[in-house]
Assembly symmetry: C2
Homo-oligomer: 415 residues x 2
């Protein structure tokens, strides 16, 4: 009997997550064992609310798949809902089971990061326990690149390319004036420094900047930071610093939080600013030169106008392979990349138990950070560079990117 | 006798200013009346310091001109130095005169915004008074689009394209969660709202967001803003706001400054944040939903990876025409664009007396803002849209933009 396939997306947006969605749909359409292809709107929450749409009939041309692939953020929407433990609320699981029965779901694909893999893991364990043949596959995505077992995650390459590109441009911008200045670029990555580390990539095209790079993986010291800046400023008047939002002090506190206690706004409320603003104020107070902080903000995860071809191609492929693995009988697995070589760049898709992945974080290797903890070593270049190669054209309308959208008409079950 | 030509750049970076530089060099190389082509490094300050480099010998291929044109910020560096009044310090003028004599300068081109046009104006008046045949031409550039007499300024189109593109992507990013949220995007433009107004362009490709747009040209009221947000949130859960950094209250104060008095950091220093952070805190205090502010920051003026073809082509052309006008005997003029029609888009380059331009600001027309002062009317679309059309390929290395740089070897006079 034909079973239907259900896809959902979860966690934070990336520029590549829709390419994985596209890969799943394209591959699923090739296999007669799969009936309907459904999408849940807003992740597992959407499943629970029966916000389920039909996808196959909406994808009627090659061009539509391409347009979906180059559209950033999530075409199916997202959620931050994490499944509770089975023993704490079995009724949630039973409701999902009931809805899967209603829609005759035999394949469930969850595209997401750590938390999403946790949900996929719990669901697959639940169906195993009930001895139901519902194949649950995790399809990784996260700009943070912090999932274990996989060489890297889809979404990271495009984010790294955006960061490297913007950094090269910020460097040009900062160089125009002949005066002492400090520019601090705050980059995402709460506990893993992969994204901030990508700021080193302009070094591979001959740029000296960013002169200082700080990651959560090396202890941050404010006095040492000021010394570093002063030293660099003697040689290069315009000092450029890349910093991860998650840098931590020796006592384990986030640097951004450490200085906030005395900071109150006009209403008397504590004001929590990011680490960029914190370092900006510190430089203003202790050095006194021109200083600016720049937060790359959400654009580093949704800039569909700077896509890595490697990333988009791999994201599509990992989705397609997830379908093939599921059809081969696999469940409770996440598809991963195993890197065979850097030059030439070769990766193989393989499987990992989701239980090995869920809730674990892979941090940036300490041995790729210099001893002082203020820059990235060339050893990281061979790992990072292949992930940002190639460009991807995107459709435009009126000079702006023309993004793809699904019609969100919720369907009733079609058994 | 052959005279030499000197070019300098001044003011803030743009993505198109090097295309004007390229246009000047290319055109000047065609004319045997012009001898050497020099560039002053760091604007008029660089002239005073004899930081003068030779440009012609550095431009040996078509490809180099293209690479220069797509390199953002200023290939010759910049300064913020403004010439004092002649009566206040004639010695500065005499020194420039002396240096121009040393280098046998007959043509001086200053690429910049309001302040730079003021300097060009003063210099041309000085040479007129001394009855010296040194042709001084102003070549406009500013992302702010606030120079009078010209339909628009080179640099604005690419900045507007970056803003419209980023806005379309931020809209996608904000839509993924099914919850009440407010996203505030702070855009440059201290006294003129042209850039923030460009945030309306996604409306022309069917997007409802940004739902609210506030410019300095309409009085800003905090209570009204909160009402606006609440009203929009009832219809669209995710509210997106574009705001110019320079919005002002009814009493004339900048909104960003109005609430800063009670804000002190751990050192007891006043902390001046931007209007985005101010509105973010206001929403957090008075509405309490998820809220985020995004400052597009310097990338809106230096994102060479999102160039408007119209802008780069026009910037090159305005530089070339400045040379032709100077050779025809003009001096003390700025080259301007006169728009003939929107559809088809046609502009003609003409001349304006620099004295008409220097120190004046052209603001966004109030009649293109809705009566409530919280959105842009479709009447503005025909003006804005032509300026962001077309893409420009740029050279890459290792997946990043490969920017052009001059060798900065200062030369001694070659009479």
């Amino acid at each position: 009997m034909k079973k239907n396939l259900l896809i959902a997306q979860s966690g934070g947006p990336t520029s590549a997550i829709n390419a994985s969605l596209s890969g799943i749909i394209q591959e699923a359409m090739k296999h007669s064992e799969i009936g309907e292809i459904y999408g849940a709107v807003n992740g597992i929450e959407g499943v629970l609310d029966r916000k389920i749409i039909e996808l196959k009939s909406q994808m009627t041309s090659e061009k539509m798949f391409h347009n979906l692939e180059v559209t950033p953020a999530m075409a199916l929407g997202s959620c931050r809902f994490r499944l509770p433990k089975l023993e704490d609320s079995e009724e949630v699981y039973n409701k999902i089971d009931e809805i899967f029965d209603e829609y005759n779901i035999g394949y469930f694909f969850y595209i997401g990061g750590n938390d999403s893999m946790d949900t996929a893991h719990k669901l697959s364990a639940y169906f195993d326990k009930k001895q139901k043949d519902i194949r649950v596959m995790g399809v990784p995505k996260t700009i943070d690149n912090d999932l274990p077992n996989t060489d890297h995650t889809p979404g990271f390459g495009s984010a790294a390319k955006y960061i490297a590109t913007s950094m090269a441009e910020i460097i040009r911008d900062c160089e125009v004036y002949f005066l002492d200045s400090v520019t601090i670029v705050e980059i995402m990555g709460r506990n893993a420094g992969w994204l901030a580390a990508s700021a080193c990539l302009p070094h591979t095209i001959g740029l000296k900047a960013p002169h200082l790079i700080y990651l959560p993986e090396a202890v941050f010291d404010v006095d040492k930071f000021i010394e570093d800046v002063k030293r660099v400023q003697k040689e290069h008047k315009s000092v450029i610093v890349a910093v991860s939002e998650g840098i931590k002090l020796a006592d384990g506190r986030y640097a951004a939080e450490s200085m906030q206690s005395g900071m109150v706004d006009a209403f008397g409320h504590k004001y929590l600013s990011g680490v960029g603003k914190f370092l900006e104020r510190t430089v203003a107070d202790r050095i006194g030169c021109k200083v600016r902080s720049i937060e790359l903000n959400v654009l580093q995860r949704c800039a569909g106008h700077v896509l890595s071809e490697t990333d988009i191609t791999e994201a599509r492929k990992i989705g397609a392979h997830a379908v093939r693995f599921a059809l081969a009988g696999e469940t409770g697995k996440m598809v991963i990349f195993h890197r065979i070589s850097d030059k030439p760049y070769l990766v193989r898709t393989e499987l990992s138990d989701i239980s090995d992945v869920a809730n674990l974080e892979k941090t940036f290797p300490r041995e790729w950070i210099n001893e002082e903890g203020n820059n990235i070593l060339p050893a990281a270049y061979d790992y990072l560079l292949p992930l940002i190669q190639g460009d991807v054209p995107y459709p435009t309308q009126n000079g702006m990117p023309a993004h793809f959208s699904f019609e969100k008409n919720y369907v009733t079950p079609n058994k």
